[in-house]
């Protein structure tokens, strides 16, 4: 089982924000979507998902709302706030810079 520390630090936030930018989802759906889009590479433990979500909520980047699911059960749906959108842009940009830099370094070593 993969622990969040296996992810590059802070990446989980970025992933969650990105996923929620597409559409509001509940926790379970988020975990499914994570697996789906990352092709099981970035497996996030079910356990560490919720603390991360709660932290994002406290930051004001996402907001939660209780809504009925398709099979009529109550679930907590998270959606991106305006603040969250801005945060996503910032983090995405930072990630791109970082990964570019790392990619270059890695290539250097191989050459």
């Amino acid at each position: 089982m993969s622990r969040p520390s296996d992810l590059v630090q802070g990446t989980l936030d970025l992933l969650l924000l990105k996923i929620l930018a597409l559409e509001p989802l509940n926790g379970w759906a988020i975990s499914q979507r994570l697996k789906q889009v990352s092709g099981d590479v970035l497996q996030v433990s079910d356990g560490s998902l919720y603390p991360a979500l709660h932290k994002l909520e406290q930051e004001g980047w996402i907001s939660a709302e209780w809504k009925a699911t398709e099979n009529n059960r109550r679930a907590k749906f998270y959606s991106l706030t305006r603040l969250g959108k801005r945060q996503l842009e910032k983090e995405a940009a930072a990630w791109m810079r970082l990964s570019d830099a790392i990619t270059q370094v890695v290539r250097l070593e191989e050459a």
Partner: protein, 886 residues
């Protein structure tokens, strides 16, 4: 953080704080939803429900821990940590109860002192009268400075000023109030008819008189009761409205009751009733209302300033009207300037403000000293606990967390001390506000505590907690855990530490307080022994207002003579004398008169050569009062209305007017009405209005030549004053059964004059005592600490043969040095500060060798007391045991 962040975060935090249950339930539900979906999925994959449930739980990687992480994310940590800090601090504090109790008691004293002083400040200066728009209500200052004290001047001022919306005025009415049985001496306000309209007070029952009721004297025989009087005498009976009561035998109809919170326009007392000022002469039998030159027809004139008018503009306006009056009535109008003061304290505003400011300063110093003291204690403790703190740091506690733990301790101590101090001070203030310092005078100190006192005490407690809490922080933040755990102490001490400075300044502050209170005590002791010019011992005074029994001033002298004769016949009475109005030094009521040279022709106030105090006295007054006759003769019963005008003067008057005491006898001057008066006797100088006054001239006239119905009988006796007083009341009632008589000793009445000095001395004494206690605990703390820190060193010194003196020097030398330096600084400051005291306390001279010696003695004694126990401990050390222990 940006605002938008808080927009989201604050409601969430509040929710998790106040709807904890619901938030917890939601967390459970959210996780359960996840688990259920997971289980469903696993069952679809072919697991049994039981296996699927277990697998789902496993995938959560510890459900409880995850929940805890979610709670952490919600910001619960912050609160939890505070609770943890408080619990830890309580544990630590309870582990050293002695320290905790001393710290709390120190702060309770300091904060209590400040709360009381603030309560006085709040009651006297912050809290306005209970009337609408009190802040724009201004009055002309009473006394010498005003010039608006005659009713005619008030009328002119009311009609000619352009600064006030409307002007009202009032005077005290000391009358006999008869509600059906017997006339009882009562204090009320005689007010202008527009009084309540100007104040915008609404009646509690019935109605008030109005400006439209006023058609001159006797046109509105109405009286309004204060709520307190109505409550006490009529038991809240609303049916009294419409009833008739008698004021000095004249019938008045009760038309209303004032609301409970309205207690007249002077903060110091509660009147019994309000009556029309235009009836003053009718009731008292005088001619005050029609005399323009009088100083005492009105006590205060006041009103709301018009919007936009500043106080300075209004004062200029008043002085312009004053100039007009002086031109129009040169004989009756003085050249005095008008100033304005907030209604409530009038002319007392400045002295009260100075007194309260002085007290606040001293109380603030107490608090500072207490903080320095506690800062020292906490620093010493932090040094003792350096190993524990270092260990916590080494084990990974953040410095912030350690700092917070220490600050929490300090704040807890501060809050406990604050609460204790507040409790004491609130009960003290409550006592003060119901206390009536003088019998017969409706004086009160309006300092009942309110919410502000609680707020201020809380703020003081928090601020002082943080103040002394930060003292040890530098030390903690500097700490290198590795060094301390290894070496066991905080490294070599510096030559002058922060703690030395703190202690020295604390002792300096305490020495200032001790010196000031000694100066005050000495001043009071001196003023008690000062030369009054009369002998208040073995006298009984009877206050008799003949107008209360319906006598006017024409009939008064005959009746007064009969009373004097009747009293003279009481066995054991040595001498009876009488003085109109008040004797010297009673109720700070003394009247001055204008005196002109014998050859003067224009008797306008500006031409007066002297303004001595004036007394109208009976033959025998000087002997009854114990005033020595220096030259000439006393008055006789022949000095009556038809005889030539004569006067007795004091030595000061003789010196100023005629150049010498011996040359004054038989000389002439002219009285305020221009009549030629001959000096027939000269008496000893004395005090007249207050004990602080410089030597003032005084002049005495025979009472038959200026009759008045209000007077004091002075009876000098060798017998028990109580018995004589009873006999006096009996004799006077035999003459007129309806005449209220009040008897008191002159000594008791002097209490009123001495009250400010006594109050100031008491306050300073208490503060000085607190200062002394603080310096004892401060020095003791430091000495005890330095002995306990150096036990080992002292043990070694003793083991290798140090003498007692050397051991003491090593153990306590530093504490004593700090004490000496602090005391010297404090003494110097105290002498400077005493100049300020001179304004409150009589004869406060800081350069008094007695005071200096006493201050030095007190500080040395304090040092001795405080270092005694630590010195004993240092001397009783057994080096063997000590060295074996380590």
């Amino acid at each position: 953080m940006r605002l938008e962040h808080w927009w989201y975060a604050v409601p969430l935090r509040l929710r998790s704080l106040f709807q904890r249950r619901r938030v917890e339930d939601e967390l459970d539900e959210e996780l359960q939803f996840h688990l259920d979906r997971k289980i469903e999925g696993l069952i679809v994959q072919g697991l049994t429900p039981e296996a699927a449930r277990k697998a789902a739980l496993r995938s959560m990687d510890g459900l409880t821990q995850r929940k805890e992480e979610c709670r952490d994310a919600r910001g619960w940590n912050f609160i939890e940590h505070i609770v943890q800090d408080i619990r830890y601090a309580l544990r630590v504090l309870l582990k050293s109860p002695g320290f905790t109790v001393v710290a709390i008691a120190t702060l309770a004293l300091a904060i209590g002192a400040n709360a009381v002083v603030f309560g006085i400040f709040n009651g006297l200066l912050l809290r306005p009268l209970a009337v609408p728009r009190a802040e724009s209500l201004w009055g002309t200052v009473y006394g010498e400075g005003s010039g608006w004290q005659s009713y005619l001047n008030y009328i002119d001022l009311r009609d000619r000023n352009r600064s006030f919306e409307e002007l009202a005025a009032w005077n005290f009415a000391f009358v006999g109030l008869d509600t059906g049985k017997q006339a009882v001496p009562s204090t009320g306000y005689a007010t202008t008819a527009n009084y309540f309209e100007v104040l915008q007070v609404k009646p509690y029952a019935g109605r008030f008189f109005r400006a439209s009721d006023d058609h001159g004297a006797g046109s509105m025989p109405y009286v309004v009761l204060t709520w307190a009087y109505w409550h006490a005498h009529f038991h809240d009976d609303r049916a009294v409205v419409g009833r008739t009561i008698k004021i000095n035998k004249h019938p008045y109809t009760i038309i209303g009751v004032a609301p409970p919170e309205f207690r007249g326009t002077l903060l110091f007392g509660t009147p019994d009733f309000f009556m029309p000022v235009v009836d003053q002469d009718l009731v008292n039998g005088g001619r005050e209302l029609t005399t323009r030159g009088t100083d005492h027809a009105l006590f205060e004139t006041f009103g709301h300033l018009k919007p936009g008018v500043t106080v300075a503009q209004a004062e200029a306006d008043l002085n312009a009207v004053s100039a007009y009056l002086r031109k129009t009535y040169p004989k009756e109008s003085g050249t005095r300037k008008s100033t304005l003061a907030h209604v409530g304290l009038t002319a007392f505003t400045r002295p009260v403000r100075a007194f309260v400011a002085g007290l606040m300063l001293l109380a603030g110093m107490i608090l500072l000293a207490a903080c320095a003291n506690l800062g020292n204690l906490f620093a010493a403790r932090a040094a003792d606990r350096s190993r524990e703190l270092a260990l916590r740091l080494a084990l990974g506690a953040s410095r912030i967390r350690v700092v917070r733990a220490l600050l929490t301790e300090a704040v807890l101590v501060a809050l406990a001390g604050g609460a204790a101090g507040l409790w004491v001070s609130v009960s003290l203030l409550q006592g003060m506000s119901t206390w009536q310092p003088f019998r017969g005078a409706p004086l009160q100190i309006p300092v009942a505590p309110d919410a502000r006192i609680y707020a201020v005490s809380l703020a003081l407690a928090l601020v002082s907690g943080l103040l002394f809490g930060i003292v040890p922080l530098r030390q903690v933040l500097r700490t290198d855990p590795y060094q301390i755990v290894k070496a066991g102490s905080s490294g070599p001490g510096r030559r002058i530490t922060m703690r030395d400075l703190l202690l020295a300044s604390q002792i300096a502050i305490c020495a200032v307080l001790v010196t000031s209170s000694l100066v005050a005590l000495r001043g009071l002791a001196r003023s008690m022994q000062s030369h009054y010019g009369f002998e208040p011992q073995s006298t009984v005074l009877a206050s008799i207002n003949l107008s209360m029994a319906g006598y006017n001033s024409d009939r008064a002298p005959a009746m007064q003579r009969r009373m004097i004769d009747a009293l003279q016949n009481i066995p054991g009475v040595e001498q009876v004398g009488m003085v109109n109005n008040y004797p010297p030094l009673v109720y700070t009521a003394a009247f001055r008169t204008n005196i002109f040279k014998e050859d003067a022709t224009d008797f306008k106030p500006a031409n007066a050569v002297s303004r001595p105090y004036k007394y109208d006295v009976s033959p025998g007054y000087f002997r009854a009062a114990g005033t020595a006759l220096v030259a000439g003769r006393d008055f006789s019963w022949h000095d009556d209305k038809d005889a030539p005008r004569v006067a007795v003067v004091n030595c000061e008057f003789a010196r100023r007017m005629f150049g010498s005491v011996t040359g004054a006898g038989g000389r002439y001057f002219r009285a305020t009405d221009g009549v030629r008066v001959q000096v027939v006797g000269i008496v000893d100088d004395g005090k007249y209005l207050s004990l602080t006054e410089d030597q003032e001239p005084a002049i005495f006239f025979p009472f038959q030549q200026s009759p008045l119905s209000f007077s004091h009988m002075i009876v000098r006796t060798t017998r028990d004053p109580q018995q004589i007083a009873a006999a006096m009341r009996r004799r006077i009632h035999e003459l007129d059964g309806g005449l209220p008589v009040e008897t008191q000793s002159w000594k008791t009445l002097l209490d009123v004059v001495l009250f400010p000095a006594r109050a100031a001395t008491m306050a300073l004494g208490v503060l000085g005592g607190m200062g002394a206690m603080l310096s004892i605990t401060g020095i003791f703390g430091m000495a005890a600490y330095s002995v306990s820190r150096r036990l080992k060193e002292l043990g070694i010194r003793m083991a290798i043969g140090a003498q007692r003196r050397e051991v003491l020097h090593a153990a306590l030398g530093r504490a004593l040095k700090v004490l000496a330096l602090g005391s010297i600084a404090g003494l110097a400051l105290g002498i400077l500060a005493s100049r300020v005291l001179a304004s409150i306390v009589y004869q406060a001279t800081p350069r008094d060798p007695f005071v200096l010696a006493a201050a030095v003695l007190v500080m040395s004694l304090l040092g001795l007391v405080a270092t005694w126990a630590p010195a004993q401990r240092a001397l009783s050390l057994d080096p063997l045991t000590l060295l074996r222990e380590e």
